[in-house]
Symmetry: C2
C-alpha cells in the first residue's frame, strides 16, 4: 500500500504507540475525495469533523492547516482519497480525559479504491449482513475510530461479486451499508434511515439531503427496502452507486439516481473513470 | 508518562500509522499485573487473549514470546502493569480483512496506577453513569480496542473522591464499572452481571468466579445493587476493592470481600502497599 502522510505536519509513517487513538479508538476520521487539489465536499467534511470533535470533547483542529496538509500529501495525484484522522493524542493510562489534551492529526493520501465503471452504470449487488448494529445514541452519526462492527460485517462475505452489505439495527431496521449510506425511493418518496441511534452520518448523505429537500429521514424496514422502486448508495469516496440487486431482489437504476450522479459530476467529481 | 515497550519484539515507542488498531480499533488488549517477573493471573490473560483473537479472527500470538517480552519490559520493576495490545496489523484500506494478516503486538510496562491503601480497607465511592452500554453480542466480553463508551463514561465526572462509575445497559441492568467488574452479595448470594450482550469479561472476575463456585452470573438491577449487603469490584490491575458507597447508599466491607482480598494476597499480589 502506497501512502504519503503527515503526522502533526511532519512527514513520517509512524505514530506514538501510546496514542489514545490506538489504545481506545479515541478519535475520529474523515475520508475525503480529492480531484487534484480540490475536494468538492471539503466544507461538509470539516463541518462534520468540527461537530464530532465537539461531541467527543476533542479540540477541533485548524481546518486551514488540514487543507494545506491534505493538498501536500495529495500533490501530483489526479485522483486521491485523503484520510484525516484526529485523535485525543497521548494520554495518561486509563480512560480519563487528559487534563491538557494534545490531539494528534494524521493526514494520508491514497489512490482511490477501484470501482468498475460499470458499477456506476448497472449498479452493485448487495447482501444483508447478519450482524446487527448496537444502539448508542451518544456515538451515533460519528465517524469515530471504533469500527469493529464494520470490520465484522465486512468479514461476513468474500464473494467479490457482492459490493456491499446492508446493516440493520437490533430491531431489524435498515441503517446503512458497511461503508456507505443508503437511500430508497418508496412510493415515489426518497427515504434514508435515521441515524440517531447507530450508523455514520456520511458527508455524501448530507450532500444528497441538501440536494433533495423533499427527501425524508426516518425508519426503513427491510421489507420496505425490498419493495423500493429505486435504491442507491452514497459515499464521499465512491459517490452515488445504483443498487442493482439485494439478495434475490433486482432494482432498475432510476431517474433520481441518475440525477444525483449528474450532480456529483457537476460538483467536479469524475469517479466513473476510475475503474 | 514513563513506559518501556517492545513492538513486534523491537524496542521503539512508535507504531505504523496505517495499523488497523488505530484505523478501526481492530484489536485487543490485556492489562496484566506483574509482581517483579511474575504475573499470577497470566494463564487467565492468555486464555482470554486466545479466545478473543479467535472471535475476531486475529491470529493468536505466541504466548511464550509474549511472556518473554512482558518480562523484558517489566524488568527491574518490583510492581508493574504490562499492557499487551494485539492488532490485526497493517491492512489494505477498507474494512475487509487482509488476506494474510500480520498482527502487531505491543508490549509496554507501566507503573501501577496509584490506589490509596485505605481504598482496600475502607472501600471506594461509586456513582451511576448516565451513558448506557450498547448491546452487541458479537463483541460482548472482549477487551477490544473500541472503548469510546468507557472514555465517555469516565468523562462524566472529575471528582477525585469518586473512584468508579457503574455502567448499565440500555434496559437499565447493571453491567460493570468503567474499568472493573462488579460483584454484589444479595440475600447471601454472590452475584455478578452476565456479560453476554455488553461489558468486558475481566480476568479478575474469572478468578473470583473460579474461587467462589457458589457465585451466580445473571441479571442485576440497580435496585438490587442498592439493596445488596456487600459490593466489591474486581480488576486484574487493582485487585479486589470494597465498595464503600454508591450515591447515597453506604455498604460495609463484608466477609467475602475480605476473603477474596486474602485470596489475592495468597496469589502473590501485594496491591495494598501501592498507595
Amino acid at each position: 500500500m502506497m501512502a504519503r502522510m503527515l503526522i502533526n505536519g511532519v512527514p513520517t509513517d509512524q505514530v506514538p504507540a501510546l496514542d489514545r487513538g490506538l489504545a481506545y479508538g479515541d478519535g475520529l476520521f474523515e475520508s475525503i475525495r480529492f480531484v487534484a487539489a480540490v475536494a468538492p465536499l471539503w466544507p461538509r467534511h470539516m463541518q462534520r469533523l468540527g461537530e464530532s470533535c465537539g461531541r467527543l470533547r476533542i479540540p477541533v483542529p485548524d481546518t486551514e492547516q488540514l487543507l494545506c496538509e491534505a493538498r501536500e500529501v495529495a500533490r501530483d495525484m489526479p485522483q486521491s482519497v485523503v484520510r484525516i484522522t484526529v485523535t485525543r493524542g497521548i494520554g495518561e493510562r486509563g480512560y480519563a480525559l487528559p487534563a491538557s489534551p494534545q490531539p494528534m492529526r494524521l493526514v494520508a493520501a491514497f489512490a482511490p479504491p477501484p470501482v468498475a465503471a460499470e458499477a456506476y452504470v448497472q449498479g452493485v449487488r448487495l447482501r444483508v449482513c447478519a450482524i446487527r448494529l448496537a444502539e448508542q445514541p451518544l456515538l451515533a452519526g460519528l465517524k469515530h475510530l471504533n469500527r469493529l462492527e464494520q470490520v465484522l460485517a465486512r468479514a461476513e462475505w468474500d464473494d467479490p461479486a457482492i459490493a456491499e452489505g446492508v446493516l440493520c439495527d437490533s430491531r431489524g431496521r435498515v441503517i446503512s451499508a458497511t461503508m456507505a449510506n443508503l437511500f430508497a425511493v418508496i412510493d415515489g418518496v426518497l427515504l434514508t434511515p435515521s441515524l440517531d441511534r447507530c450508523g455514520v452520518a456520511g458527508v455524501g448523505r448530507a450532500e444528497v439531503l441538501a440536494t433533495c429537500p423533499q427527501a425524508q429521514v426516518g425508519e426503513l424496514t427491510l421489507d420496505a427496502l425490498l419493495g423500493a422502486s429505486e435504491v442507491f448508495l452514497s459515499s464521499s469516496v465512491r459517490g452515488i452507486l445504483p443498487v442493482h440487486s439485494l439478495a434475490e431482489r433486482r432494482y432498475a437504476a432510476g431517474a433520481l439516481t441518475r440525477q444525483l450522479q449528474q450532480h456529483w459530476h457537476n460538483l467536479g467529481f469524475s469517479m466513473e473513470q476510475d475503474g
